[in-house]
């Protein structure tokens, strides 16, 4: 009885997280993070029809052959349900690996798919994808697992359908209309999730705050329309300079912020330096002129800088950005605890 109550509480919490998600990636991540408390499994798979993308949320020790088997199986089941695609080659595979089980239970490199549960993601007679739990163990799932999983599957479908219906509202709530980057509100929501994850698991998390140097001069000299063009170009450059799992947002005005999960100081500095050099070397076309623009960047990191909260992380990145500005601009600075 106590176990059922515990499971129901976990289930309630998962549903709540799914309901408050902003996009497919978040739904998959929140489910992937919480499902190990309910089930023993190796990979969670979500196949979403709208963009023919198969999201696989996996235990980090899952071997590539296992990933391929899961993908093939999901595509097969999706086609059995009478929906396209029926061919793995037409599906974009996006794999997210996370530590879902203790090290001593790491998967064998020769592990194969031994059992699974797949459920259609369906709302109002329309199949919009499917979701699966997959295991390298035979008969890993029973009737009770299926009962819990079907509740989660149904909730995921309802939320995805909601996204499709209100995509324009969602777009306004999540994206910055000028740059099409995430907006500050979304960034703050995302930071809550990533900070919780990192503070809980001890995994690294970095923030990079970026400010365009002397941007006011661009606006004053060439006008706001040309200034907006520069913002869009830098936004596009930022988007292509980060990893898939990173979040790039417009923080306000000419300020941007990057959330880099599982990035240590060294990797973050490398990314930030790359961005600085890319901006510095690019010629921006404003009006009839071609000009050089530079950016200053400030970095904070958990656990490197020992922040106690997400607010600390933001404050530290901001402080580092201030140091970069004060140090002469066009540079990357790490948070310096001595100046705290």
């Amino acid at each position: 009885m106590r176990l059922i109550v515990k499971n129901l509480n976990i289930l309630r919490s998962i549903i709540n997280t799914i309901n408050t998600s902003f996009e497919i990636k978040e739904i998959v991540e929140s489910a992937g993070n919480n499902l190990p408390s309910l089930f023993e499994f190796s990979a969670l798979g979500v196949l979403w029809k709208e963009e023919s993308t198969l999201y696989l949320y996996q235990e980090e020790s899952c071997p590539p052959s296992f990933t391929k088997e899961v993908a093939q199986n999901m595509v097969r089941v999706f086609s059995v349900l009478g929906e396209e695609p029926n061919d793995l080659a037409r599906v974009t595979l996006q794999v997210e690996k996370r530590k879902l089980r203790p090290s001593h239970m790491a998967m064998d490199s020769k592990a194969t798919l031994k059992s699974y549960l797949v459920l259609p993601l369906a709302v109002e007679d329309e199949i919009i994808g499917c979701v699966s739990l997959n295991s390298d163990q035979p008969n890993a799932f029973d009737a009770q697992d299926l009962q819990f999983f079907s509740v989660i599957g149904y909730q995921m479908a309802a939320t995805l359908k909601h996204f499709q219906r209100f995509s324009s509202v969602k777009t306004m709530a999540v994206y910055d209309t000028l740059t099409t980057l995430y907006n500050r509100r979304y960034m703050e929501e995302r930071l809550i999730v990533e900070a919780q994850k990192s503070f809980y698991s001890g995994s690294s998390l970095s923030l990079v705050m970026i400010d365009i140097d002397h941007f006011k001069k661009v606006n004053d000299t060439f006008g706001h329309t040309e200034g907006d063009k520069v913002l869009r170009e830098i936004a596009s450059l930022l988007k292509t300079s980060v990893r898939k799992k990173d979040t790039v947002a417009r923080y306000g005005g000419e300020e941007f912020i990057l959330i880099l999960p599982e990035a240590g100081l060294e990797e973050t500095t490398m990314i930030a330096e790359r961005i600085r050099r890319l901006v510095e070397s690019k010629l921006f076309e404003v009006g009839q002129a071609h000009i050089n623009i530079t950016v200053s960047l400030g970095i904070s990191n958990f656990p490197g800088h020992n922040p106690k909260s997400k607010e600390d992380l933001v404050r530290m990145a901001d402080q580092a950005l201030y140091d970069a500005k004060r140090g002469g601009r066009n540079r990357v600075c790490l948070f310096n605890p001595v100046q705290k």
Binding site: G82, L119, F141, S150
Partner: protein, 129 residues
Amino acid sequence: MTKEVKGGKWTSDLVLDLYSNLLSMVWEVVSALIGEAILELLFNLSIKKIGEKYSFLKPLKVSEEGVFMDEMREDLRNLPPIELHRGFQSLINHLLNLFSALTEGVISREVFPKVFPKVKEAERLVSQK
């Protein structure tokens, strides 16, 4: 309800009764496992697919409350029992295939022991002279 007609043959009514009960039983067991909404979808997919060959199945009504064949019953009782049996058997087989494709043995383990004897019973009924 009359179960026999002239000539001592079993009527289609008996086959319809049997499959009506069988579908209700499948609904009851499987809806407890995967919920009514997903099961409704799987039933509708199966009816659409098998209805291509056995068009008399198309009017089967499925909702989140279950499977209902009351409205179609009058039309169906004029069909040969063997035809009814084949159509409904195909429908059940298709559903079982879907259940297996989705959950391997998890649903089948619960449903198959209840379905198999009923289908055998239907086979016996339609083969009786």
